[in-house]
């Protein structure tokens, strides 16, 4: 366990993937753009998207609230298990879990696979893009559903929506922690990044600037 954690730390030091410079290509690993695990990619998106679709179409599909709720809960659970245990490991080489040691203290372990010069271990670009898009878009959708359920007083759906937010948010948080690495603090990184960007831009153009920054960051993570 400790050896693997050190591998993560040295990985951060020697790897030249900079999250802050989205403009330049800083990587020198060979990039593949074909999908190496089609089944994993399919299931990564299938469970998430079908949970959202069932939630949106529940009134049309069946008149029974219970059946819809149980279906969505099953899909969310399958999605959580698949993304945490299978697709993260296969598609982007990241994994995270909880470990309880002899004293009863719990540790959260976040790991990323070291990049080796062998062909079989490189991360494919298309898979990475699919993974991060699916991972980031769906929790945002569930948060939007939570607000809409709250404000339109469809409170009976709140249980399911909150479960969706929690499960998918947990996966998102876990993988971002894996990506960023255990040393860097998320908030200091985010504030220093935004600070750099604001200083660099000479003429900020209102509300489109944060959107552009967010999209730049997302593509940087996909390529990185």
């Amino acid at each position: 366990m400790l050896a693997q954690k050190h591998a993560l730390d040295s990985n951060d030091d020697t790897e030249d993937v900079s999250l802050f410079d989205a403009e330049e290509e800083t990587t020198n690993r060979p990039r593949k753009s074909k999908i190496r695990h089609p089944v994993a990619s399919f299931f990564h998106l299938f469970f998430r998207v079908s949970a959202v679709v069932v939630y949106l179409l529940c009134e049309l599909l069946s008149s029974s609230f219970i059946a819809c709720m149980v279906t969505i809960i099953l899909l969310l659970s399958c999605d959580f298990w698949a993304v945490k245990n299978v697709t993260g490991r296969l598609m982007v080489g990241l994994r995270w879990w909880n470990h309880i040691d002899e004293d009863g203290k719990s540790h959260w372990v976040f790991e990323s696979r070291k990049a080796t010069p062998q062909d079989s271990k490189t991360i494919s670009e298309a898979e990475s893009r699919i993974f991060w898009l699916g991972l980031i878009a769906c929790p945002i959708l569930w948060v939007i559903f939570a607000f809409s359920a709250l404000f339109s007083f469809r409170v009976k759906w709140l249980a399911v929506v909150i479960m969706g937010v929690v499960l998918q948010g947990a996966n998102l948080y876990g993988y971002i922690r894996c990506k960023v690495g255990s040393k860097k603090n998320l908030t200091t990184m985010a504030t220093s990044y935004l600070g750099k960007q604001f200083l660099r831009q000479s003429a900020p153009d209102g509300w489109t600037l944060p959107m552009r920054l967010l999209i730049q960051q997302m593509w940087a993570w996909c390529y990185g």
Binding site: S64, F65, V70, S77, N98, I100, G104, K156
Partner: protein
């Protein structure tokens, strides 16, 4: 599969509570989720038309179970217990298994019609399973508390399973 076997092993540990650490060391929340969904499905009132079917009761069982488990965990942590949040949720969730079995038996008994004998049978079954749940969960949870606080940490568990047993006992289809 590894996860399914772990869940099955934990169910066996609840049914025959021994002083082992298997429930505590490798926690997972799949068992509590399955039990919660099963219990919520069985606690549905059958309605005549499909429109107003048991939506609120389903969400109510979910809220009672998860919110109650979170409250008990917070209580035991505030009393100074050295058990982690998810471990406690895991133990409390898995120890709902005897009450789920009681629910199954109650539903079967209710198929034979209602009456005082029926009620006595259900009361007996629910009481036995309630005692089993409380004993199983305190066997796991009491160790993590300092000795003079054990009763303070255990009585919310008693209340939690009592509320669930009450929901089971007062269920009429």
């Amino acid at each position: 599969m590894r996860d399914l076997k772990a869940v099955g092993k934990k169910f066996m540990h609840v049914l025959y509570p021994r002083k082992s650490n298997a429930l505590l060391r490798d926690w997972d929340l799949w068992g509590p989720l399955i039990l919660c969904v099963t219990l919520a499905l069985m606690l549905q009132k059958s309605s005549v038309d499909g429109e107003k079917d048991g939506g609120p009761q389903f969400a109510e069982v979910f809220v009672v179970v998860w919110f109650g488990a979170v409250t008990i965990t917070l209580n035991s942590k505030l009393l100074g217990g050295n058990i982690s949040f998810f471990q406690s949720l895991c133990v409390l969730g898995y120890c709902i298994l005897p009450l789920t079995v009681a629910m199954l038996i109650c539903r079967l008994v209710l198929l034979a019609g209602q009456g005082p004998i029926n009620f006595m049978i259900r009361l007996f079954v629910v009481a036995v399973m309630f005692a089993w749940s409380v004993i199983a969960s305190t066997a796991f949870l009491a160790d993590s508390q300092p000795p003079n606080r054990k009763a303070l940490a255990v009585y919310p568990v008693f209340l939690f399973y009592f509320v669930i047993s009450w929901m089971i006992l007062t269920f009429t289809p």
